[in-house]
Symmetry: C2
Subunit: 432 residues, 2 copies
């Protein structure tokens, strides 16, 4: 007998059919001589009715006290039942407990740290299943955009000898007795690879030793990064808005039910499915903020608070461009028409979420890049190979990085980035 | 004017067309008043003819000594030219040097360590472009198998508190002052996730501090790992052979030309495109080896040498199953019909390549698993959450891990695993 997914069984065409399902006990109650067991699998929840008249009093008695999350298999007949969740139930002809579950540690009402200590069990809640499914679609759609548009996937290294953006938030690794670091971005390596494949992308874990615990920072997150030869900042912004709108469209198509179950306001997400996205310059962002009474002056970076306020002005994700050179990384290309700003952009998600992408055009002139490395207090020796890329056939090029968890948090409408990963990592959390 | 890829231009339909291309100088020579510049981009190489009569003597003189790997743009007319590589050339009407390249450090004949120190430039050789493209297709096809068969992609953590398979080859990380490790396998976390999504997979970097430098070991590699609830070892072997044959089919379809350029014997790869793959038990493997005079006895692990000899017996990848329990990890399920062996399998690639997959059914009984952890000298406290998975609704389940670089090495027919990554990591190598 083949087992069916619960979602397949809960269907008008299946009424009267004899089927087998398996999964975990989500809820149970016994009324009269009947046990009503709600069984969940990865696709849904169905009510299974175990009648003592048919399957024996012993089984029904056992089910009266069966632990939640016990694993079970059941075969029986599908019936329409308006009182059951989803409108169907399975009248069991056989029912087997395959794995007991005594005193499942999560009963409801536990505190956050306890739940995080039991994350390996907490993730079984249907809410996490839905978030994980949204994440799955975000990842698949993101890759699909690149592979269907002629970009090459590459595997830059995670272990590196030098920092991408300075040392404050690096995790040191003992690498065969040498000191190495976990990558914060694949960018520098992607820049080497554009000389081979022109349009490249990678999806890798990135690591930042963020000391602060916030709603939108993780110590370990997934980074989707494209880099392309001959692309200007404007070209790359077009890639960014096409990528993000493609992801949003796919999630709206494939995970609409999950989004609704998660309480996501679909109408507020919809505008993001349609590019183009608005663009404002950093100068304008500062003006908007000052008009709203925010204490900010030209040259200050935009923090989470400033971003949140800006997002109230837009119904779609929007770009902020042309940042002051001193608040952006050494590798950003200076605007030829204004040496105080760089050809960099951030893409901010609306509804308060803020930055999900950072990118721009890269400095492609050896002398200028060398000087900027020195200017930012970095050691040019640490960037020898990276500087080489400007010595041998340099080309204009641009790229960006999408924080996959940031994007998922916004798309799923979550309060905290932590729940976009089954086993999130942030200061104080390495277990389980 | 739009730029075209070189491969697009080298086409009968393009003869006489006016096009623009851009890329890097691969070869150059000047004969009479004409410069013959071979330009490569990510798609191919074309000969560009720069005539001094048309574009000036100054340019042709400059091109006489132009450095290899300089970046250039050219517009002109496509002509059929049997003497040019690929049969076409571009008669330049304009030609621009966009990035110089003085004394490109790789001229041919350099030693391996020097080349590895210049890996960021060495990868520009057309050979690497072809390998990178094969890798791209291996990754895409691998994921495609899972997503099109109802498996859910998940993101297990890279930073972990405990070791998957013991501590000898772990990389320690300073995690906010705490000791953590880089993941060697996502398996244990995937096992937690099957209780949520049943059939899950992940593609993550895995890390092993291998002290020995061999042709088939890396310190950092990509690991494609599925895990499924309710799957037996036999079910999972079917997944493994479907996955690998799907990847091989896709590469044969999409990268045939690249394989041929790399010198891959296509005929010897073809059998792997068709499942099923042969299966032998460990017992039979030992017998075969003994008959061939190999000094091995029951209970010894199969090393690279033994694997190589075994692969001579098969034209396809093949499974070795039912290994002695003492040479396999604690989490492998003991064969109920023979407690000396476990329900584990390796998949070995033919032509001397050996193991590309290791997997099996996992121990799902709490008491047995606890005892095996103790038996192997590990501390059950380190596996508390993992043991919990057997306390709360345990289910039979199986999984495996595919070494993506091992598979790519075999499929592309490479001598060394190092070349399956642009920036490989192994003892002594962290730069560039
Ligand atoms: Mg910012
Ligand atoms: Mg082995």
């Amino acid at each position: 007998m083949e087992y069916r997914s619960i979602a397949d069984v809960m269907n008008k065409d299946m009424i009267g059919a004899h089927v087998c399902i398996r999964g975990w006990i989500y809820r149970r109650s016994v009324v009269g001589g009947k046990a009503f067991i709600r069984v969940r699998d990865s696709s849904g929840v169905i009510q299974v009715v175990v009648d003592s008249g048919r399957l024996g009093e012993e089984l029904v008695n056992e089910l009266k006290n069966i632990g939640l999350e016990a694993s079970v298999m059941a075969c029986g007949t599908v019936r329409e039942e308006p009182r059951a969740p989803g409108g169907y139930e399975l009248e069991a002809e056989s029912f087997k407990i395959t794995g007991y579950s005594r005193d499942f540690p999560i009963k409801g009402g536990e505190g956050l740290e306890y739940l995080l200590d039991n994350r390996h069990l907490w993730i079984r809640s249907p809410r996490f299943a839905k978030i994980l499914k949204v994440k799955h679609t975000v990842l698949e759609a993101g890759r699909e955009y690149f592979t269907s548009n002629g970009w090459w996937e590459v595997n830059p290294p995670i272990l590196t000898a030098s920092a991408c953006e300075g040392g404050a938030t690096l995790f040191p690794v003992d690498y065969f007795g040498q000191k190495a670091y976990l990558s914060q971005s694949a960018q520098l390596y992607l820049e080497a690879l554009i000389y081979v494949l022109e349009k490249v992308w990678s999806l890798t874990p990135s690591f930042r030793a963020e000391r602060s615990r916030t709603r939108r920072h993780l110590a370990e997150y997934w980074h989707l990064e494209p880099e392309a030869a001959w692309y200007t900042m404007e070209d790359m912004m077009r890639v960014a808005e096409e990528l993000v709108s493609h992801i949003v469209r796919r999630v709206l198509e494939e995970r609409r039910g999950d989004l609704i179950d998660l309480g996501r306001n679909i109408e507020r997400l919809k505008p993001a499915a349609e590019p183009p996205y608005p663009r404002i310059r950093y100068d304008e962002a500062v003006e908007i903020l000052q008009k709203k009474g925010v204490n900010i002056k030209w040259g200050d970076d935009l923090g989470a608070d400033e971003e949140r306020i800006l997002t109230m002005e837009f119904e779609k994700p929007f770009f902020v461009t042309h940042f002051p050179r001193q608040i952006k990384s050494f590798y950003m290309k200076v605007d030829p028409s204004n040496p105080n700003v760089v050809l960099g952009f951030d893409l901010l998600a609306p509804e308060g979420y803020g930055e999900i992408i950072g990118g721009g055009e890269r400095e492609d002139n050896y002398d200028v890049l060398y000087q900027k490395i020195v200017e930012q207090g970095l050691n040019p020796d640490d960037y020898k190979w990276y500087l080489d890329l400007r010595r041998y056939g340099s080309v204009p090029h641009s790229g960006f990085g999408l924080g996959v968890e940031r994007a998922t948090m916004w798309i799923a409408g979550l309060d905290h980035i932590r729940d976009t990963l089954p086993f999130p990592r942030f200061r104080g959390r390495i277990y389980p």
